[in-house]
C-alpha cells in the first residue's frame, strides 16, 4: 500500500501547484463559495473557517437561508458564502436554483466543494456537475478520519489528476486541513477555460455539437460555456432553458427536442436519466481507480445505534422519551430556572425605573415601564427557553437523530395524512410556534409543507403557559384527583387537545384543500456523528437570534400599539372601558357570550393575545386594575367560574396564531392569503371549541 498515502495534512507540498503569491493582488471582496451534499460536514467546515464572524439572512425572494461569513488570509479579508446543501445541480428545488445561479452569475473567485470521504460515490455526482460549470474548484476531502476508520483509502493524487482539480483532505470538526484548504483555494492557478468535459457517448456528442454551433451563432452562450449549456438543454434543465429563452428561439427549441428524442431512441433512456447514468458510470470507474476499500468492516457504530434507535419495540418509546426529556429540560432548566432570572431582572428593572421616574410625566413613565419594559421583557423572557431548547435540538440534528425521528414517526403520521418530519416540527412548535413553522422548511413537497405550517399554531407553545398557570392556579390549584393534581391534569389536557386539533386539522386539510397532491418520504439517513460544541453553540445562537429578530420586532411593535390604544383618547383611565381598547372589547364581547366569558375585559385580553399570547395575563392585570398577583387572582375568581376558565384556556390555546406566527406564515408561504386563512380558520375552530366546552359543561351541570 505504499502508493496510497493515508491522510497527511502536510499535503500541499506534494501537489504540483503553480503557486502564485496572491496576497498582494487579492481584491477587497475576494469570495469563496462552499458547495456540497447535505450531511457532508460543509457547515462544520464553514463554522471552522469563519468562526463567529457569520451572518444569516435570506436569499432574495425565497425562504432559503443565506449564510455568509468571513475569514482572513495573511491579513486580507476573505468572504465565504455557504451555499445550500444539495445532491445535484439539476435546478429542481429552490436550493438548487440558488446554488446554480450563484456559481454561474455571481462568479465566486473560488469554489470549495466539500465531500464526505466515506460517501464518495454519491458526493462526486455533484462534483462532476460542478466541474462542468466552474473551473475554479478545490475539493475538500472531508471527514478524512472517518473514512480512514472505515478502512477506505483514497488516492488523492490520482483523484486530483483525474478531475484536474486540487484535492485537500480535511477534518472540519477537528479544524485540521482547513488552512491548507484556504491556501490552496486562493493560490492555485487553474488552467484557463478548463471546464470538465465528460464523454457522454457518440449520440450526445453529435447532438450537443449541433446545439453548440447554434448557441454560438446566435450569441446565446460564450465559447467556454456553450458545451455546458448544450448538455444542460439536452438534459431538460429548466434553469438553462430559461436563461437562453428557449421558447423564443423556435429553431433551437426544435433542435433540442429532436436531440432529446434521438437520445431516447438510441439509448432507451430519458436524456436526463441517461446523462445521470453516464456520470455515475464515470464515478464508478474513478472510484475503482482511486479508492481502496477494506470491505471487512463497514460503519459499525451507526449500524449498532440504528439497531436500537429504530428497533421494532424500542424505536417509538425511545422517540417519545427523548422528546419528553427535551421538553422537560427546556421547561425546567430553560424556562423556570434561567427564565426566572430574566423575568425577575425585568421586574426589578421596572420597579427601579418607576422609583427613579417618579417625578417624570405620567405618560412618559407609562410608556417606558408598561410599553418598553413590558414589551421587550415579554420577548426576552423567552430567550433562555429558546437557547436551552435549540441547544438540544441542534445537538439532535447534528448527531443524525432527527432524521431517525422522522423515519420512526412517518408511518404513524402518515396514517393521518401527515409526514414523518411534521412530528419533528410539532415538537419544535411546543417551544415556540414561530420556530416550529420555520422548521417545516425541511419538508420536500408543497402539500406536506403547507399542512405543517397550518397546523403548527395549534400546538401549545410556552407563551400560553402563563395563562394556564394563572387560571388553573386560581381554580384548580390545590385540588387532588387520586395522586394527580387537578391543575396538572388541566395542563396535560390542553397539550393533548392542541395535538389532537392539529392532527385533525392536518387530516382534513390533506383530504380537502390539498387532496390528491403528492407526498413522499425519500430521505438520507446520515451516519451518526458526535456534534462539536462549537457547531452546536453556533446553530443554537443562529436559531435563537432569528427568533429574537422576527418575534422581537413584531411583539414589541404590537405591545406599543396596544399601549397606545389603552391610553387613548387622552384623559381616560388607562385600560378602562372608556379607552379605545375598552370600546373595541365591548363590541367584541357579545360574540364571546356563548363561550361563557362575554366580558369586555376578556375580549380585550384575547385581542391583545393575538399580538402575543404571553401578554394576556398582563392585560388582565391592566384591565382589572390589579397590579399584584393576589389582586389579579381574586379578580379572576370574581369574573370567571371553573367552567368558563377552562373554556377560556381552550380559546387561548386554539383561537389564533400570534402575530409573530402570522408574520412567519406569510413569509414562509409567500402569501398574505394563507396567513389570513390561518387566522380565520383557527378563530373559527377556537371559538367553536370554547363554545362546545362551555355548553357541554353546562349540560353536565358544571358551573
Amino acid at each position: 500500500m505504499s502508493d496510497r498515502t493515508i491522510y497527511s495534512i502536510n499535503y500541499l507540498a506534494q501537489i504540483d501547484v503553480t503557486y502564485i503569491e496572491r496576497v498582494g493582488e487579492l481584491s477587497k471582496d475576494y469570495t469563496i463559495a462552499l458547495v456540497g451534499n447535505p450531511n457532508c460536514g460543509k457547515t462544520s467546515l464553514f463554522n471552522m473557517l469563519t468562526g463567529s464572524k457569520q451572518h444569516v439572512g435570506n436569499w432574495p425572494g425565497v425562504t432559503v437561508e443565506r449564510k455568509e461569513g468571513s475569514t482572513s488570509y495573511h491579513g486580507k479579508n476573505i468572504k465565504v458564502i455557504d451555499l445550500p446543501g444539495t445532491y445535484t445541480f439539476s435546478a429542481c428545488s429552490e436550493d438548487e436554483i440558488i446554488a446554480v445561479n450563484y456559481i454561474l452569475k455571481e462568479k465566486p473567485d473560488a469554489v470549495i466543494n466539500v465531500i464526505d470521504s466515506g460517501n464518495l460515490e454519491r458526493n462526486l455526482y455533484l462534483t462532476l456537475q460542478l466541474l462542468e460549470m466552474n473551473s475554479r474548484v478545490v475539493i475538500a476531502l472531508n471527514m478524512a478520519d472517518e473514512a480512514e476508520k472505515r478502512k477506505i483509502f483514497i488516492d488523492k493524487e490520482k483523484l486530483s489528476e483525474a478531475l484536474s482539480t486540487p484535492v485537500v483532505p480535511t477534518i472540519a470538526t477537528k479544524n485540521s486541513g482547513i488552512q491548507d484548504l484556504l491556501t490552496m483555494s486562493i493560490n492555485y492557478e487553474h488552467s484557463a477555460g478548463g471546464l470538465l468535459k465528460l464523454d457522454y457517448g457518440q449520440v450526445v456528442k453529435g447532438e450537443s455539437s449541433k446545439i453548440v454551433q447554434v448557441l454560438l451563432d446566435k450569441g446565446l452562450a460564450a465559447t467556454e460555456t456553450a458545451n455546458l449549456v448544450a448538455i444542460k438543454l439536452l438534459e431538460g434543465d429548466q434553469y438553462f432553458i430559461d436563461s437562453v429563452k428557449l421558447k423564443e428561439n423556435p429553431d433551437l427549441n426544435d433542435m433540442v427536442k429532436a436531440g432529446r428524442q434521438r437520445i431516447s431512441d438510441e439509448t432507451g433512456f430519458d436524456p436526463e436519466i441517461y446523462l445521470a447514468d453516464k456520470r455515475y458510470e464515470f464515478i464508478v470507474h474513478l472510484i475503482e481507480e482511486c479508492v481502496h476499500k477494506d470491505n471487512t468492516n463497514t460503519d459499525d457504530l451507526t449500524e449498532k445505534i440504528d439497531k436500537i434507535v429504530t428497533n421494532k419495540w424500542l424505536g417509538l418509546p425511545l422517540f417519545f422519551a427523548i422528546m419528553f426529556l427535551l421538553y422537560q429540560i427546556t421547561m425546567g432548566f430553560g424556562n423556570d430556572f434561567l427564565g426566572g432570572y430574566v423575568d425577575s431582572g425585568f421586574v426589578a428593572l421596572g420597579e427601579y425605573l418607576s422609583r427613579v421616574m417618579v417625578n417624570s410625566p405620567e405618560l412618559l413613565r407609562s410608556f417606558v415601564i408598561d410599553a418598553m419594559i413590558g414589551g421587550v421583557g415579554s420577548v426576552l423572557v423567552f430567550v433562555p427557553l429558546m437557547l436551552t431548547m435549540y441547544f438540544m435540538i441542534s445537538f439532535l440534528e447534528d448527531s443524525g437523530y432527527m432524521a431517525r425521528a422522522a423515519y420512526v414517526m412517518d408511518k404513524l403520521m402518515n396514517a393521518v395524512g401527515l409526514h414523518g418530519k411534521t412530528a419533528v416540527s410539532m415538537i419544535i412548535s411546543s417551544g415556540c410556534n414561530v420556530t416550529g413553522i420555520m422548521s417545516t422548511r425541511t419538508l420536500d413537497t408543497k402539500k406536506d409543507r403547507m399542512i405543517g405550517i397550518l397546523i403548527s399554531p395549534f400546538v401549545s407553545c410556552s407563551a400560553r403557559l402563563p395563562v394556564y398557570a394563572l387560571f388553573s392556579g386560581v381554580f384548580f390549584g390545590d385540588q387532588q384527583f387520586g395522586i394527580l393534581t387537578v391543575s396538572g391534569i388541566v395542563f396535560f389536557s390542553l397539550y393533548l387537545l392542541g395535538i389532537i386539533v392539529a392532527v385533525i386539522a392536518g387530516k382534513v386539510l390533506s383530504k380537502t384543500l390539498f387532496k390528491g397532491e403528492k407526498s413522499y418520504f425519500i430521505m438520507e439517513l446520515p451516519p451518526y456523528r458526535i456534534p462539536t460544541l462549537k457547531s452546536t453553540l453556533i446553530h443554537m445562537w443562529e436559531k435563537t437570534e432569528s427568533f429574537i429578530r422576527k418575534a422581537g420586532t413584531i411583539i414589541f411593535g404590537l405591545v406599543v400599539i396596544i399601549w397606545l390604544l389603552s391610553i387613548m383618547p387622552m384623559g381616560v383611565e388607562p385600560g378602562s372601558a372608556d379607552s379605545i381598547l375598552g370600546k373595541i372589547g365591548s363590541i367584541m364581547a357579545p360574540l364571546l357570550r356563548p363561550a361563557g366569558f362575554g366580558s369586555w375585559e376578556a375580549a380585550v385580553a384575547l385581542i391583545v393575545g393575538v399580538g402575543a399570547k404571553e401578554a394576556i395575563v398582563a392585560t388582565f392585570g391592566m384591565v382589572y386594575g390589579a397590579g399584584e398577583e393576589v389582586q389579579l387572582a381574586s379578580a379572576i375568581q370574581m369574573y370567571f367560574t371553573p367552567l368558563t376558565a377552562y373554556a377560556f384556556m381552550v380559546m387561548t390555546l386554539l383561537y389564533a396564531p400570534c402575530a409573530a406566527s402570522l408574520g412567519v406564515i406569510r413569509r414562509e408561504t409567500n402569501s398574505t392569503k394563507w396567513a389570513l386563512f390561518a387566522l380565520f380558520y383557527s378563530l373559527l375552530i377556537g371559538w367553536t371549541a370554547a363554545v362546545l366546552v362551555y355548553q357541554a359543561g353546562r349540560l353536565f351541570g358544571f358551573q
Binding site: S90, C92, E121, Y125, W313, V408, D410, K411, N414, Y520
Partner: protein
C-alpha cells in the same frame, strides 16, 4: 420463465437487489436518479421503521429511507 421482477417493497429484509425500472412521475424519478438510483444500481434492504414502513436501503455506500408506497413503483430483481 426467466427472472422474476418484483417491487422494491416486496424484497425481504437483508436481501440485495438490482434496480430494473422506476415507474414514477418525472420529478421524483429525477430525485432518485440524482441520489444514485438508476437502472442497474445494486442495493440491499437493511432495515425498516418500527411500524414496518418506511424501509431503509443501502446503496452506493449510504443509507436511504423510502416509503413502501414509493418503493413499490421501483421494479427490482433479487440478486
Amino acid at each position: 420463465m426467466g427472472v422474476q421482477y418484483i417491487g422494491m417493497d416486496q424484497l425481504p429484509l437483508n436481501c440485495s437487489g438490482r434496480i430494473i425500472n422506476i415507474n414514477m412521475d418525472n420529478l421524483l424519478k429525477r430525485k432518485l436518479t440524482d441520489m444514485g438510483m438508476i437502472k442497474g444500481t445494486e442495493f440491499k434492504v437493511e432495515g425498516q421503521a418500527p411500524l414496518g414502513d418506511p424501509i431503509r436501503i443501502n446503496l452506493r455506500g449510504y443509507n436511504l429511507a423510502i416509503r413502501k408506497s414509493d418503493a413499490k413503483n421501483i421494479l427490482v430483481e433479487r440478486i
